[in-house]
């Protein structure tokens, strides 16, 4: 897979996600379907991870409801460009509610990786950071190197404002690392980690 697919994409997705979660050990993590869920699981299974296997477009909205319910915890949504684009309006909902404890990380390879690497809108003109800015997320920026993990982790942990980070990743396809697909199990253990009963 040539890097010409995503000219500015230099970041190794697995290394970046793994280092970010290690540097944000208390964060509640929500992952969007497809490769971001594999990346989060490959970094090490945690009770505080909620892996989506479907509900495309819902990762940020789910992270928002969680962030509003748990204002004293840091919430980190890790998703891909295709998943974010499907739920792009949810960035406006984040802009309207401004949860201080929500960080959104979009792993952008400019393609729909799960379905055969068709180009996504971010390869065809969409600038997601400008979109996030336009929706009122002031702290929105692009990352092109793994050396920026620390500054993102600092934002995750400090909970001082909604943050949107677009990471230009290398459009490779690392080995699949499949998290549990039993959503009831993942939900219940996540809630248990927060001290909540099943229902």
């Amino acid at each position: 897979m040539s890097t010409t697919l995503n000219a500015s994409g230099a970041v190794d997705r697995r290394a970046f996600v793994s280092q970010l979660i290690a540097a944000s050990p208390d964060a509640l993590v929500v992952s969007g379907l497809g490769s971001p869920s594999y990346d989060v699981f490959a970094a090490g299974d945690r009770d505080q991870n909620f892996y989506l296997w479907g509900a495309m477009g819902g990762a940020v909205a789910l992270g928002l409801g969680l962030a509003l319910a748990q204002p004293e915890r840091s919430v980190l949504v890790i998703t891909g460009d295709g998943e974010q684009l499907m739920g792009v309006g949810s960035l406006g909902t984040v802009g309207a509610t401004q949860p201080k404890n929500l960080t959104i990380l979009v792993l952008d390879n400019g393609h729909f990786g799960e379905t055969g690497m068709q180009r996504s809108h971010t390869s065809l003109g969409t600038n997601l950071v400008e979109v996030a800015h336009g929706f009122g997320i002031e702290d929105a920026f692009t990352v092109t190197g793994e050396d920026q993990v620390g500054e993102i982790a600092e934002r995750v942990m400090s909970r001082r404002g909604a943050t949107f980070v677009q990471v230009f990743i290398n459009p490779d396809e690392p080995p699949r690392a499949l998290p549990p697909r039993d959503g009831v199990h993942v939900k219940n253990r996540f809630r248990a980690a927060l001290g909540c009963a099943t229902f």
Binding site: L28, V30, F50, L52, W53, G54, A55, M56, G57, G58, A59, A61, L62, G63, L64, G65, L66, A67, L68, A69, Q70, R73, G87, G89, S90, G92, T93, A96, T97, G183, V184, V186, K187, F190, R191, L194, G195, C196, T198, F199
Partner: protein, 178 residues
Amino acid sequence: MTSTHKEAPAWQHAVFDALKAGNIRQIAYVPDVGHAYAIQQAQRDPAITDVVLTTEEEGVAVVSGAWLGGQRAALLMQSSGVGNCVNMFSLLRSCNFPFLTLVTMRGEYAEFNSWQSPMGKSTQQALELMGITVLRASKPDEVGEIVSAAIDSAFLAGEQVAVLLSQTLIGRKKWERN
């Protein structure tokens, strides 16, 4: 706007009172005139976070995230919004999230706008196809009890429940502005 608003009807008070008594902490919504009072009260109540959505399916994910974080939440929308939610409802079934939505109906009674009819007439079926239990409130004095019952089913029994608020409650829409 508020200066020209008439006092909200009693059934709309009953909706919000039931949500409040049921400890609903987040109210996510795409507005409808029938939800106007609950939205206004949610915005005023410091114990409730109101979340305005760009599209209804966001709300399915927001209220699921709220539950994941230990809070009860409700999604308020109009019948047309149910159609927007269909795939996102799979989140509820896949994870067995408790779910409460209140749906104001269009396209079923004294409807002037024919564009409301296709989704309005399919709303209940669309919900049921996705495994959501449908309750309906058509008379003003039954609204509070039915919403309260739906809250219990959702958050005590872990069910997915929709309450359809009949268009008869809302009445004829005035199309001419004075």
